[in-house]
Amino acid sequence: MSKDKKILLVDDSAFMRKVLRDIFESDGYTNFIEAGNGNEAIQKINSEKPDFVFLDIIMPDVNGMDVLRGIGTGTRVIVVSAVGQKEMIEQAKSLGALDYIVKPFDRDQVLEKAKAYFDK
């Protein structure tokens, strides 16, 4: 699988973006864009057309659910959030998210999950 897939990392915490980015970089991925809030995420999804989006849910103003509502179903999104409740997962999926990763995650878990969808 090619490692130059364009990956958009959306999280209001620069720390969480950095951790995720390092995980992907350690597996050889090179092409990243980042967004620190929901509005920026929607803009970058429209302008940069990332192959995959890793999306935080709880963010100020425009949250992850709003982002899912705002971008339609063409984009491949995996939600990453510390919220683990079942209804949240169901809601995200109903809004078009492919899957759900719960914080705290570990490297292998993220890469495994990503790979499952990247390869499709």
């Binding site: 951790v19 510390a82 914080k103």
Partner: protein, 558 residues
Amino acid sequence: MAVDTKKYKDLFCSEADDQLAILSSSLLALEKDPQQIELYEELMRSAHTLKGAAATMGYVAIAELSHAMEDIFHSAERGAFTIDSKIISLLLSAMDDLKASLISIREHDTELPQALVIKEIKNVLIEGSHYAGAQVATEVNHDVRPAHIVAPDTIKVSIDKLDVLMGLFEEMLMIRLKVSSLMGPAVELVQSIEDSSLKHQLFFIKELQTTFVDFARLLSENQGVLLSIRLVPLELIFNQLPRMVRDLSVRENKQIEFIIEGGDIALDRTVIDGLGGALAHLLRNAVDHGIVSQGIIRLSAVRVGARARITVEDNGGGIDYERVKDVALSHGVATKEQLASMRAEQVAELLFHSNMSTTEVVTDISGRGVGLSAVRWFTEEVGGHVDVFSPVPETGVGTRFVLDLPISLATVRVLVVQVRWYTFAIPLEGIIKTLQFKEGDVRDAAHQETLFVDGEFLPLIHLVGILKLTFGASPVESSLERMRSAVIMRAGESSFAVEVDECTGEQDLLVKSLPPVLRSDKCFSGSALLPDGRTILLLDGHGLLAHALSDILRHTSS
């Protein structure tokens, strides 16, 4: 544990600080006006973000505590209970515990246990509006202890202000030099006075001198501190380079291992400023034209006395000297005759010539010239120099650039020398010793006078010839017995002797860069002001030696 906590510690703590600040101010706002429902959102979000980050770092206590807090805000938002001042006191004391835990993480890489406060917060969730307040919390309320207001132990200062401070300080140093040069004659004058009553009246001159010595010492200590404030670790620049090298090698489709060493060495901010651009030039050259398809580029820094030696080395193809000559010829940088007599080092020197750095030339000589004149300009501007070795002597392959830079822009201790009517300064760092010799000690070997010093013959260089000093007569007719003076200097691995008429004495001088008209003259490394206001030039060992060697070559070839 999820991640390498040491690696992310700073980022985590700085974001956690932000979240704690938001939580504290929102709690205080909520206490004033419990009806502000939108504050719950804010509080939940902050606690949630903190929880996620802490869990990712493996800080379970912080994660659990922020989780419990998030639950409180969640329940309160749903109307299960109102967050009253008792609960706010508890939550604020939880803030204090979290702050302490962050300090512990910063200092000892370990979080603090939070079991008590977590238990108390869980009580709130169970008891709701019946919560009677915590013992800890009420204690906090009654016995109002001084708040945990900790001023940061570092401050940011703009580099402009430091430059102004430096400028003022340099003026103070000039005054010190001036006073110090007046003090000597004044003391001597008093000592020479015969009249004992007058001499007695002038006792204060001696006092003045003692006081001045104290003042001068304090000024020196001050200078040390001021200069150390301006030091910045090379890491600040080095850290940005792996990404650049990576991108370049991807673009060029080359396999390059990039090694960095010595990023902890600190240099004056002014030196660091231009260094990034210079290193970018050298690394781009190494990637584009040094490495053929795969190889190693090594960037290293070592400290040598008051100077830093920064090396960019590749194990690639090395410089194609014949092509450099071709380009130099076609661009009028050197004549056929000059090129014919040049040794490899001198041909390599041509790369730094500004006419060799045009884009057109660049493609001709596979880009070796790109920006090298800019690199040289930068190093000389800050009082350093740059050398190129290709192939690298130890390995026989590749190219090595060595930047020799001052660590700080300080005063330089120099020897002031007199040649005819001219005064020059030689930095003590480049001096091995001074000595006296006689005509009889000089040997003429291969169109170059040499002086036998400590078991070896050193070239004897005459400034009058090299610098074309036309004013002032040579001291007395030469006789075999007349004592002459020489300064034994070193430049890199080579030593040589420079004849001078007189060594006037040592001084601390503030070195400035050369006026642009003199930059092309490699014999000088900088200029400085003498206490009497005269500007003098600093002699550069590398330049003098190169000049002398090219003179020899001219004689040999003619």
